[in-house]
């Protein structure tokens, strides 16, 4: 388990990260969410000891630099294009293998895993963003680390690459490892993450499982369409349900779909559509981080 305790970092007068504490569990993928400028990258750098600041991060009870081979404990991808553009991809990984005390045979293994074997001898300066990400992922998994920390790993990947990454990270976590991944792709996080840490303006907003996050913060309900909306609305309100109008139908909360169906049947109201509505991670995220955006767009009124 990664235990983050009271991380703090300030740049001159700006507090980038403030008293941030959370945990990253093994066997799970933990999504790390926050608006632009929320302090996600800074947090990751603080966790790795790349930046100096307050607080501490423990990896299985020890600081990262207390391990003899930190590269075999944590694999990182903080920036897609973090390589020398004219150094061959294989040489780039060999250097990381040398530095991390990792067997050189792993270099070809990881190149094969990320699908870059054919360009192993190419200079990555001309790689697309997607290929660069794959090289970065290869670097991260080189030492078969227990912990993976990835900053926007899906950026630039094609749909096949995103699907591969999702399955790869889930299976990596299933092997008893922990994956800590930041992303703006909320649907991706929703599909792959078990837990989520949400921050805004450097402060913790939520540290919970995706299921709990959606249950506690999302507006769930039922959408129903009928040619007799007014009659249905009266019947629902009499049944103590909360009703709002929208999209040519009613949004109902306080009843199950079974109860609503029964009520409509008993009132002889025809139903054209009856569907449970769940809040998306995007909706919950936007609600949670409202007011925490560092660089929010200005909404124009017409």
């Amino acid at each position: 388990m990664i235990t983050v305790e009271h991380l703090a970092k300030s740049y001159k007068k700006k507090q980038a990260v403030s008293d941030l504490s959370f945990k990253v569990e093994t066997g799970k993928v933990t999504g790390f969410l926050g608006p632009n400028g929320a302090g996600k990258s800074t947090t990751m750098r603080l966790m790795l000891g790349l930046d100096t600041g307050g607080g501490k991060t423990m990896f299985d009870g020890k600081r990262l630099h207390e391990y003899d081979r930190p590269a075999q404990m944590v694999g990182i991808l903080l920036e897609a294009k973090a390589f020398h553009p004219t150094r061959k991809a294989r040489d780039h990984l060999r250097i990381l293998a040398d530095a991390g005390g990792i067997s050189r045979s792993r270099v070809d293994e990881v190149l094969s895993e990320v699908g870059l074997t054919e360009v192993a001898k190419s200079r990555p300066g001309k790689f697309s963003l997607g290929m660069s990400q794959r090289l970065g992922i290869a670097a991260a998994i080189l030492g078969k680390p227990k912990y993976l920390m990835l900053d926007e790993p899906a950026n630039g990947l094609d749909p096949e690459g995103i699907a591969w990454l999702r399955e790869f990270l889930k299976s990596y976590a299933d092997q008893g490892n922990a994956v800590f991944v930041s992303s703006h792709g909320l649907s991706e996080i929703a599909q792959m993450a078990d837990n989520v840490v949400v921050i805004g303006k450097g402060k913790l907003i939520a540290d919970t499982s995706i299921t709990e996050l959606l249950a506690e913060n999302g507006h769930t309900g039922i959408f129903v369409r009928s040619p007799k909306l007014a009659v249905l609305e009266r019947a629902l309100k009499a049944g103590k349900a909360t009703v709002t109008h929208g999209n040519g139908g009613l949004r109902v909360s306080g009843l199950t779909t079974d109860e609503l169906g029964k009520l409509a049947f008993e009132s002889s109201i025809p139903i054209y559509e009856l569907s449970p509505q769940k809040a998306s991670l995007e909706e919950v995220f936007l609600e949670l981080t409202a007011g925490s955006q560092e660089f929010a767009t200005k909404k124009e009124t017409v």
Binding site: T52, A71, A82, H84, T86, L96, A99
Partner: protein, 247 residues
């Protein structure tokens, strides 16, 4: 530490700039020592008993500055391409990384300076022979020339290394590294006069070629001046390297 060393040597040897710097340096030596001082030399110049010794020391004083760029780029590329985050995450002590880089840079500087030290007079000998000249008997104090040339090449490399470690900006360090010896110290020399011998680049050049500049300490004393600069620079760069954010 061995892991860090292996990584640093591999970094140095897997970029084209390292080979470009070495080849360019050797071509410059061949041009000046072989063509200008050899093939096209005035016959009167060939009477000096120190001709070949001067070819060694002058070559290192000149191309040592170019060779030092390999070490500067070893550190500069890390920050420019942000691979420093991998480097610092892979090690459990930052000072090990700095020490490994220092050893790699020093080894490279000493080996290339050694090559230049003997390649330059060789070019002159070949140049003069091709032209049909005969060089007068030479005084060539191998050990003195060798240590002075190697020290000069190493000194340049360490200056460049310290500069980039402190500045962490590749362009800034390159410009500073060129401007200080070529312009800065010459201007300062007008003010300092005899005390110019205490300026870092003047001192390191005087170690290799004490006779060139006049009014200098002997090579050993100039080497001590250089060592003081290097020691202070290394202490400062180590403190900054360990304490600063890695970007």
């Amino acid at each position: 530490m061995i892991a860090d060393l292996k990584a640093e040597f591999r970094k140095l040897l897997t970029v084209r700039s390292t080979y470009f710097i070495v080849i360019a340096s050797l071509l410059i030596v061949a041009l000046f020592a072989g063509l200008i001082s050899g093939f096209k030399a005035a016959p009167s110049d060939l009477h000096s008993a120190k001709l070949l010794a001067e070819q060694s020391t002058n070559a290192v004083v000149f191309v040592g500055l170019i060779l030092a760029f390999a070490g500067l780029l070893l550190v500069g590329h890390e920050y420019r391409y942000n691979t420093i985050m991998y480097t610092l995450t892979a090690t459990n002590r930052r000072y090990k990384v700095l020490l490994a880089k220092l050893i790699a840079v020093s080894t490279f500087a000493i080996i290339t300076s050694l090559i230049v030290t003997f390649f330059s007079p060789l070019c002159t000998i070949i140049g003069t022979h091709l032209h049909g000249y005969t060089i007068s008997p030479q005084t060539y104090d191998y050990w003195s020339i060798l240590w002075r040339c190697l020290f000069c090449g190493w000194g340049y490399a360490l200056y460049a290394f310290i500069l980039i470690t402190i500045l962490r900006n590749q362009i800034g360090a390159i410009v500073t590294f060129l401007l200080v010896p070529l312009i800065g110290e010459n201007i300062l020399g007008l003010l300092l006069k005899h005390n110019i011998k205490y300026l870092p680049f003047t001192a390191v050049q005087a170690v290799a070629a004490p006779d060139n500049l006049g009014n200098h300490l002997n090579a050993g004393h100039e080497a001590l001046v250089v060592l003081v600069y290097i020691l202070v620079g290394l202490v400062l760069s180590t403190l900054l390297f360990i304490r600063r954010d890695a970007n």
